[in-house]
């Protein structure tokens, strides 16, 4: 199983390289031209990486390996965003998600792990029940997806410029934008309050916590 995991992650890194290098300036896709084939190859590669690393998180017990697999998954999803001509979102996903949230989770893993404690404590039947639930859920979703007729409009795959997204944020989506910033503020205060070790006043020296 270890070698399989190793090739999954390596493939993830290489496909992220190919995906971003290729997808960013998707040339005009005339029918069945070489570029669509490449786009398909890139899509299937990244989809494979995302799914396999998801499965790897499911299977492996070592938390730090899960972190690396999550990184591969996030990289693959970022590659998909580039393919879907959402360059800004791909870059933000890499910075905020892979660069920020993952380091946060790594902190969580490091602070709460003890040697030999990250074994799977799950009993046999729980795993089977989980599997059954997911498979039925997936079948249900696929039924819905395949038989509805999505009204898709073939649009030119020009990558959306940052200016367009910026303008949209500050005009049509101003309220959610402000709400998000308020929420982040609330979250900041909440997290700081939660982590305060009981008994000490607020001014916790950062050196003690890292």
């Amino acid at each position: 199983m270890r070698h399989a995991l190793r090739w999954i992650v390596m493939a993830g890194v290489w496909s992220a390289l190919a995906g971003t290098a290729w997808g960013a300036e998707a040339p005009v896709p005339p029918a069945e031209s070489s570029s669509t084939i490449l786009e398909a190859i890139a899509f299937y590669a990244m989809a494979a990486v995302a799914l396999l690393s998801g499965l790897a998180i499911l299977v492996s017990r070592n938390l730090v390996r899960n972190v690396v697999c999550l990184l591969a998954a996030l990289g693959a999803v970022a590659g998909l965003y580039f393919l879907l001509a959402a360059n800004l979102l791909g870059a933000i996903q890499l910075i905020v998600y892979a660069g920020g949230t993952l380091v946060l989770i790594t902190f969580g893993v490091m602070l709460t792990s003890r040697p030999g404690s990250d074994r799977q404590l799950v009993r046999g039947w729980e795993r089977i029940a989980g599997g059954v639930v997911c498979v039925t859920l997936f079948i249900g979703l696929c039924m819905v997806l395949l038989c509805t007729e999505w009204a898709t409009v073939a649009a030119s795959a020009e990558p959306t410029t940052v200016a367009a997204v910026g303008r949209a944020l500050l005009t049509d989506y101003l309220v959610p934008f402000e709400l998000a910033s308020v929420l982040l503020l609330v979250m900041l205060i909440g997290a700081a309050y939660l982590v305060r070790r009981d008994g000490e006043s607020g001014a916790e020296d950062d050196a003690d916590r890292c």
Binding site: R114, S117, A207, D208, R209, C210
Partner: protein
Amino acid sequence: MAKLTDKMVEGQPDLLADLDAETLATDDLLTEEMLVNMGPQHPSTHGVLRILLRTDGEVVREATPHIGYLHRCAEKIGENVAPFQFIPTTDRLDYLAAMNNNQTFSVAVEQLVGIEVPERAVTIRILMAELNRIASHLVSLGAYGLDMGAFTPFLYAFRERERIMDLFEAACGARLTYSYITIGGVTMDLPDGFTDACREFLEYLEPKIHEYNQLLSYNQIFIKRAGGVGVISAADAIAWGLTGPCLRASGVRWDLRRCMPYEGYEQYDFEVPIGLPQGGEPPVPPGVPQPRVPRGVVVGDCWSRYFVRVIEMYWSVHLVRQALDRLRPGEHKAKLPRSLKLPVGEIYFEGENPRGQLGFLVIGDGSPVPSRVKVRGPSFNNLSITSHVCRDCLLADVPAIVGSIDIVMGEVDR
């Protein structure tokens, strides 16, 4: 001071009481703290010193030095060889200040036997001892810069030390373990042209010390890393038997060369620098730009211990100049019988080494071989305070504190 053993850490609150047996059986040692070995092979412990740190994250809860890796039982050799054969062993006690070790042991035996040392020999001894003090301080300053991450001062310090080693090589042929000063005087007289080379070196060195002050001592990051760290009060220093620059940095103006003078030190004029609070101006020989203690420095912290050594280098240069002027032609060694019989009796003599007071208890029983030679190493006492000072400091401060105490494992383990 709860003794730290490698086994279970006592006093750990029992958090496991209400958990079910299954998880309990698997996790034997619940502790956020880690036992970390800094040494014996560690870039910042000078020589083979092992410090066992109990750390909680970056904060060191307890530091316990483990010594003995360089133990050669010098005292056992002392009981089996005649005093002048023991001189090479004294070279290897504080291998960075071999001249001072030889001088202290020779004076101890001479006082026990009552040998009169000729005038020229005494002056040469003081000349060599002070030169070796400069070399030893250069090494400690360079190594201290290395502990702080500043690589460059180390190389400048060793470049100047090369000049002193050339002078020693001209005088006695060796670069590190000289065995030059012996009982009754000095093994060989100075080569001709030595005094001029020595004066030229002093002219070259004096402005360089000021340059290092600008490069390292007054560097803001260095002051932040060393100032106010590892503060030792005067009472603690005396209680733990600290001597030399570590004692003086805590504000105790005590130097054996001035308080209990030996070898004619009373005829030389020099000042004893001590640790000064912020803005203080340590005494400096004439013709040297007046240094000033910067902001953020406290009496008895790492920076003061470092800076007392810098000022002592100035005064050693001044002392060597006076010794050079005082040199008169004459005998370089007293006439001694082939096998020197030690009288029945004992003596405890301490000399001022660069790292502190090196003491010798020599007990004679009439035969040429002493019945007991006890060596009191200054670094042995200076090191004993690390566990007291390093409590609740940061991991990056441990090399800073140990570096500022400036230990040499040769005289800690003997």
